[in-house]
Symmetry: D3
């Protein structure tokens, strides 16, 4: 139980970013609260369990005292001001909270509150990425392909600018989808160059392959699967968008529509990975390889970044099924 | 080489149906020619290889003499009058042809030529099946579901009446698709009854699950895959039809559309069998089980029917990976 | 630690059924105790951990005080009277016990104790199910098949009436085996009807397919695997029963015995699911499909029933490997 | 076509054993005819196709002339006297037959006909193997195990002495089953010695593991699957024999019967290889490893023996999925 | 049988390249003979079967007459002058040969014989490729890595210049290995650029990944597996070369050697594809993806090139398990 | 929290070996400390978590009081003297520590401290095993094979004597590698005897198959993977040792080196188990079977030994995927 003397040690210092938080640090900070639960311990004592987030990462927190006083002061999905001490628990750093309340924007902005600081987001500026996307589309030489793409991207611009690419695993943060689409486009076009593939279709496939995610996922600071997301999946949703765009334009040849749909459908590479048809064109093989590689490298890089210490290898990565050699570990 | 004396033994007798043709039979018949190739043997002698069909089955044929005289007398895809002798070759009965020419309908009808006799087709009358399909749809209690179904079935009626369900494997003949949809509907509704499932969706799923085959396959007496068929597959095409029908009706709730699309998408049961999403409702589990069972039983029944002789077991069935016990083989 | 003041809040009220028990409820109830362990916590304090059961479900419980006084007052496998408070712990409701003792039937019956209320059991009355089973057997037209079935079912009647179908997974409660056999028979016969299969064998296969479970499992309110259960499995045990019954009758043709044994052996559908031979008859294919569907639907229904809350989808089901759409979730 | 001059070159010389037969050899020999088919070639010429066998191997043969004269002179399953020339066809040596007729034992014995010479059989004398088997059984120290084994082996002695172990793959010749059981027993007992396992059960498992093959297979010079063989498989048949033997003896403890049955059931090592339960005892692990190794080594040795030529590696072995290094190929 | 009149129709015209050869063409040409077999047909008539090759492809040939006259006039592995007629047999074009003899270089050069014309080889000039390889190595910034590479490439230069990359499947022609290494290097470096990976290791991995093939394969116009090739495989051989080179240089840090060996070992991507360890560095993931993509695209391109006709899709490609859409087939 | 009165109950008694330690025992002992962590509980109270080891097993321990006093008195990897009480926690026995400090050899030897007592090691004396290994090598009749072996074993003697065979799973203790090599040699030679295989290569393969583990693993009382261990694996390292030894000897034929390397490379039996090539000789098949069986039996025996209680079956073994029958459980 927290003793009174402990509280006296908590100054009104500002806590560092979550990624920099070490056991022993005390102070206060602004966060996005993404989970809030009222729990009772083995001896029946209730406490509040929260998950807090800033753009550098997430941290669990527990409020053990004065539960009744704070429990209505905030909800999950709100920005909060929380005060407490960082503590190591089960080998992870957690926050033992002294107080927590929702942010009062007017008042707290003076203390440095800026919403964007507490939302995990792509490191690249959205407008820059959007320019790059528009440039890619404008550069597509096949008229039909470019017009279909333009129609879809314009229709879903609002979501495309902010959507994450996944609930977890890779690019699972604000604008992560856009970042991933551009990265896959970059890699795919390099490969198209190497193999003399049709760049119109390669660029289109890269931009469209995961576009169904803007309806597969619901995103409002937190990310979850939508009804269509679960029942249909982003591949089928993306194909529907192509069909709708082509129908709207009226004069797109069936073969163009079919090839665009094929790129989306086959981009997981094989049926057991969820592609109902498998790549049948050089462009589809290239897109599938680029998407697979990009998702893998993203996981590898994140795991390397999260593996501190000076051992030459990272801890075991369960999804990849192996340890990784750190770049410094030669 | 065929000797002159052999020809003298060929009377102008009418050959029996292909299924009844034994080695040694001689005579003439009407057939649909589904393949025609000019081949040359090891010693350079050219001959014409054909595949002939009537509604009881298919048979290979070879014309070894007078190739030049007959080679322009017919093409693949035409009905023909062929004369020759049934012979056993590599354990299969084949026709050694003496003559072959395209049918002259006006003249040959007098000799009993009726197109329908040479096209493999469902044993059930099409109109009867169509009535049953309409009855099924009319009996659907959920208004939205029934209207979506009605729109699709009405739009594709022409093809639905005659399309096969596959290039090979099962229900691969005229109106085989309609026969299969009704059989799956029958079985699914029995299962829905047993488990108290939602019959509107079960019936709709059964009717829609393979409906994309009317565009996946090209059928004009012969069956092959279309461009969309190869690049998209019937599952994605079927979902597109649902989306188009719902858009056309204007007032179908998203949840209804999504559930119908889910039934189509998940009906292969698992991703490695080509379903990009897997069953998530009791109705989808029932549909997937009914479709799988119907395709299997169809193959089992056909293999049993094609296995003559009095051995208790059939020959090995490569796709099923086993021999089968004949019903009489107890 | 429970404080004295807390006890004062516990009235002698009767607790609701386990399925209705919410955190905060206090009072007493009768239960079947299916597990009892003496544990010591991190700080060395011993407590008693129990699992209690009534026919609506199971709940964990902990007795933290007066351990010495209560620890010999009951054993696992006995009916108990327990008093305490429902508490939420790790997101599950548990009972924090104040007192627990074995039931004294004479005295407690007056307070409403009825053994049958604390044993999880099929919702269908056993006698009604038994009648249905006898009716099924009497309706089998093949004399040999009916007599073999009659011999087996008569011999194992005592166990067949009460045995569960599994330790966990599906139909894992009193008379669950009988319920499952009848359900599979119902579904199988509907399918036999649809496909014109031999109903004698289909009914017999449905009744016999899991009958080896009466020796595979030991059941005495709790369920576990027997020696033969582990070393042989219910498929082999079931085949042994058919061979013994046929030997006892003396005049059953070998082909009948072999076909019955084949239905049992092949009902898991494939070798990697534990069937040493795979279905070779229409009847065996039907039985295998019906059994697979019934086990799946049972799990789906249970998971739907156990998933509270108003989200459209259930939590992830690990064995099925997916979330499920709630019927209301359209 | 065979020219008259060729026949003049065929002396009445005795052909060597099939394994020694090279293209160009001419003469006559005695054989077992295991297949006979009347075929007609592309040009309609009928010929007789046969498979002939002596204990050194099998060879295909064709009789191209005088078909009518010889076609009723013999049947498949009979011993024959055949005359002709060895010829290379499609990279295999075949016999081009001049004449063929069934053996007249009285008359042909004088010319050296001995039935045993034309039946592929174990190289070990049956009586010697039988002595070894009896010795193994007599050496079993556990009374119950020995008596069960003695009962089964005595009951099936007639078949056990001559049965093959398989239709193809390994030990697929007269007394091949007995040879395989003894070899597996030898290997298993060496392993039991190395690991201090229970030799009573290891020896019993080795002798019983494939014993169901005496009913799984029909063997009368030719080998095929029986009704029970297909529908139940040798594993289930073998377990039935153990249960019958134990029932006949009356006093065998259930645990002994279950362990013996377990050894049979689990000897394929895993479910996807057809074992409904997997090894759960040191003895069962040893038996499964010994059986697997023996079957593999048998195939390796046979493939090495059949691979002539001086290349260091054998041709590709489809079942093993690789080439093998010849012992001389270092 | 070839008639005399046919021969009269064969002028001494020069045949076109194999890839351009249509049924009906007659004349003579120079070829590399890669296979020669003396076969006898069903009727005992011997003929000579050959496989002939020029740099545009391969073709089968049969010499049916005057076998004795020509059979010692050439051997497999020699360049030959062959005369005959192109004929369609089993849907493939073959050569029915009138005469065949080994090339007499002195005499035949006058008629246009140039060895290089009959050896399938990379379309890129070897010296140009070698320059590119040397340039790649010189551009490697890490001294240790560059020196190891230089040592290996220098040592095996002679073979590296001419070796094929495989017996079949992809890059299976003269200098195909060098072409493949450079192509993988090109692709890998583009990916390294996209992901900021270490280009020294990526280039080294690309050059070394298949270098073991210079000892895995024996190549002397024909390609086959060597003793080490079968027993060790090119991955292990390549690692040995790295270890030997590092030992020879004396001062290469263990970590550098280990990382280079890791790139070779892991380049098949997973254990079931033959990599004993799986990629653990960004560089190894990139190399594995580039190699896989290059081998796939090579097969796709070749299959597209070999699929004539104007159908939108190619025939089924067994190794890829699908049909492919022709670039023109939109 | 530990009360003062509890401490009074702890006499200065010597604790029994870890394997004999039951809940309730109190006293002190010497151990090897293999892990040490400072943790804080839910309420922020810090404690020290340790893992202690003697040659009979390992045990977890917690020091809850006087953390500051003891936390610098010892480190992981040191021998310690610890005092406390055995307690059951989460169904495992743990030590609740009262005090812990590093061993002072001079002083503690008087109290019976012997380093060897606290290191898990093979039960067989190292010198005896080494004699056996030398005997095996001396008995190899093939000169080249024996000399290669002698060179390797001599070079790595120091490590070979003490290395474990694995981090976990099997033979994961001091000299476990040597014990495993000898056991596999014993089993392999028995099998070689049964099948008349080449004993020189079988013995050599058994000794060499895992020899790469002396560099794959780092071992210094604790075991972990080295840089080469992770990046290359013991199979590739072992092959490198063979190549180096052969190069050092100078006159070893390539075929001998290749066959030895092949035995190492293929000993996992299949590619998905990490063997880049699969067995191609009788000797390689035998070695692979022996190694697989030895590793399995080792796990089976250990699981049986660790399963106390009188139930006939062990708890579920996750890696083997089953329960095991205890030898007494008949």
């Amino acid at each position: 139980m927290l003793t009174g003397s402990l509280k006296d040690h908590w100054p009104a210092r500002r806590l560092p970013d979550i990624a920099q938080l070490d056991a022993g640090a005390t102070g206060w900070g602004f966060f996005l609260c993404t989970r809030k639960e009222l729990r009772s311990g083995r001896q029946g004592t209730p406490h509040i369990h929260v998950v807090l987030q800033d753009k550098s990462g997430t941290i669990a927190g527990r409020l053990l005292e004065d539960v009744d006083r704070f429990k209505d002061e905030f909800e999950a999905g709100e920005f909060v001001r929380a005060q407490g001490r960082a503590d190591r628990h089960n080998q992870r750093v957690e926050l033992v909270l002294e107080s927590i309340r929702r942010v009062n924007p007017d008042q707290d902005r003076a203390a440095g509150f800026r919403e964007a600081d507490y939302v995990r987001a792509s490191l690249r500026p959205v407008d820059e990425m959007w320019q790059e996307l528009r440039g890619l589309i404008d550069g597509i030489s096949d008229d039909h392909v470019r017009r279909v793409l333009d129609a879809i991207v314009t229709k879903y611009e609002e979501r495309l600018r902010v959507w994450p690419a996944a609930v977890t695993v890779h690019h699972d943060y604000r604008s992560g989808l856009l970042e991933h689409l551009l990265q896959v486009a970059d890699v795919s076009l390099r490969l198209a160059d190497a193999y003399g593939a049709d760049k119109s279709y390669v660029a289109a496939g890269a931009i469209l392959h995961d576009i169904g995610k803007v309806e597969e996922l619901d995103y409002d600071l937190a990310t979850s699967y939508s009804l269509e997301g679960n029942l249909l999946g982003h591949i089928t949703i993306g194909v529907r968008m192509v069909h709708e765009a082509a129908a709207g334009l009226g004069d797109v040849p069936r073969g163009v529509t079919a090839r665009l749909a094929h790129l989306i459908l086959s981009h997981h590479g094989s049926r057991d990975l969820g592609s109902p048809v498998e790549p049948m064109t050089v462009e589809a093989f290239i897109l599938s390889a680029a998407d697979d590689l990009d998702a893998t490298i993203h996981q590898v890089r994140r795991h390397l970044a999260e593996s501190s210490g000076d051992a030459p290898f990272t801890p075991y990565h369960a999804r990849l099924g192996r340890v990784l050699l750190k770049p410094s570990g030669r």
